[in-house]
């Protein structure tokens, strides 16, 4: 599904990602772990087009997407969340959700004037779906609140819900459980497991090993920008290379 080959990116002498190669095939939920600074978020940024790679390829469903701007990557079907949530602060929870579906007719300026009926229909359908998802993540009582008024954990749930709303083929989650309390973590795990049933593929950066074990079918380990190991959660937990990376030097 997603293939990364020889991907490299340096920032002024620091090799953030170094000749990284990995492939996500049929795993429903894959994990990406590694010590701080190992290049996980940079890898996400490279895949989603936020920064251009120095070298290497990224292929999604066979098509090359490295070098594509972020909105094109999203249109290919990859949606991501951010380590520090990026919700739209001055828009309500519901509006945040309604933004997500791709290729809405109402988003084209000219269509506004000539396709009122179609737009109304789409909006109604999207609204229904949004309300359903808002309920799934447990934010129904907040649907008309400005997103900036939500707690951090609630914002993370909103970001997840919004990503799901975009009907993606693959979701990249960047530390979805960082900085939120255990009950929220439980909620998030539940939502992800539920969505796995509908066929969405997840690729998750995580530090919390409990979450990784609970969710992931397969885990990739990065250290210093390189992939040093991959396997099931159990396998990489016992992998000496991984242990050394977390403890060592």
């Amino acid at each position: 599904m997603l293939e990364v080959r020889g991907l490299s990116k340096s920032f002024g002498g620091i090799h953030a990602v170094s000749d990284c190669t990995l492939g996500l095939r049929n795993y429903a939920i894959a994990g990406l772990i590694g010590p701080n600074g190992s290049g996980k978020t940079t890898l996400f940024n490279l895949v989603t087009g936020l920064i251009p790679p120095d070298r290497g390829e990224v292929r999604f469903l066979g098509k090359r997407i490295d070098g594509c701007p972020p909105h094109e990557v999203a249109q290919h079907g990859i949606i991501r969340t951010f380590q520090l949530t990026r919700i739209f602060p001055k828009m309500t929870v519901l509006e945040n959700m309604l933004l997500a579906p791709p290729r809405q007719t109402g988003e084209r300026f000219l269509s506004l004037w000539f396709r009122q009926g179609k737009i109304r229909g789409e909006e109604a359908r999207n609204r229904e779906k949004a309300l359903h998802l808002i309920e799934t993540v447990g934010l129904s009582h907040l649907k008309d609140q400005f997103a900036e008024n939500l707690s951090y954990g609630q914002q993370k749930l909103l970001e997840l819900g919004r990503a799901l709303m975009a009907d993606p083929k693959m979701i990249l989650l960047d530390e979805p459980t960082a900085g939120i309390n255990p009950s929220m973590i439980r909620k998030m795990i539940d939502v992800i497991l539920k969505m796995r049933e509908s066929g969405t593929v997840f690729f998750i950066i995580e530090h919390n090993m409990d979450v990784v074990i609970a969710l992931c079918d397969w885990v990739f380990v990065l250290d210093n920008g390189e992939k040093i190991s991959e396997g099931t959660p159990r396998e990489i937990q016992n992998d000496p290379k991984v242990i050394e990376a977390y403890l060592g030097v």
Binding site: P69, P70, H71, I79, F146
Partner: protein, 294 residues
Amino acid sequence: MDFLLHLGVLIAIYTIFALSLNLEVGYTGLFNFGHVAFFGIGAYTCALLTLQRIPFEVSLLIALAMAGFWGCLLSLPSLRLRGDYFGIATLGFGEIIRMIFQNEVWLTKGPMGIPGIPKPVLFSYRFASLPQYFSLTLGFAVLTFLFLRVTLRSPFGRVLRAIRDDEVAAETLGKNAFRYRVKAFVIGSVFAGLAGSLWAHYTTFISPGDFTLLETILALLIVVLGGQGTAWGPVIGAVLLILFQESLRLLRLPAEWTRYLAPLQQMIFGALLVLLMIFRPQGLIRVKGKGSHA
């Protein structure tokens, strides 16, 4: 009574101008400080064409198209810029356009200006008298308000607001931020051109000195006074500002004082803008949204 109608016309015209700026600044987050350029392009185009005996309806449409065209042209290179840079680029553009009005005497009669702009005739109805002109401008103001309201409440408007709030997040959801910005800018420019055209036909005489930074400052003041990113904000702001600006005329001060009065008034505008930004940047109108701002 005539004075009230005069106020009404000015309020209507400035409302259109401010609404268009609000679309760009308040809703899409574009720091357009050269907005007056499109006001001027609309004014000159419409004036020059109607003086050539071209019917008002056609002249107006062409003026709008010109404003939109130049808006597109300016925005393509500059919209890739980060906020402050875009601000300076548009500021500079406003000045350049004024220089063009001043220097291209063969076209615009330069500093001597264009006198005798005829009263508009729309669908065989001549808007010559003051009440008639008031209804014309009021009509256009209402149309502008409704048009922009529909636009901003639509999914399209939603994307604009998202881009304003967090462009990166919008992009990662598949929205091509650049394209939306250009569209917002062009729409804003078209309506600025509308305001300019109406203004030219009202004052019947235009010259390059009418299209300076002052106009943009006034529009900005209107927008922030009323509340950026709200629908009624610019309207309220326009009413307040025009009332203030024109009320000084009522005082009938001696002529020698005007030399001091104009800059003094503008100093007040400048100071007001600063004070507003420090103490109440969200304007006079609260944006509805359950609970106060964080």
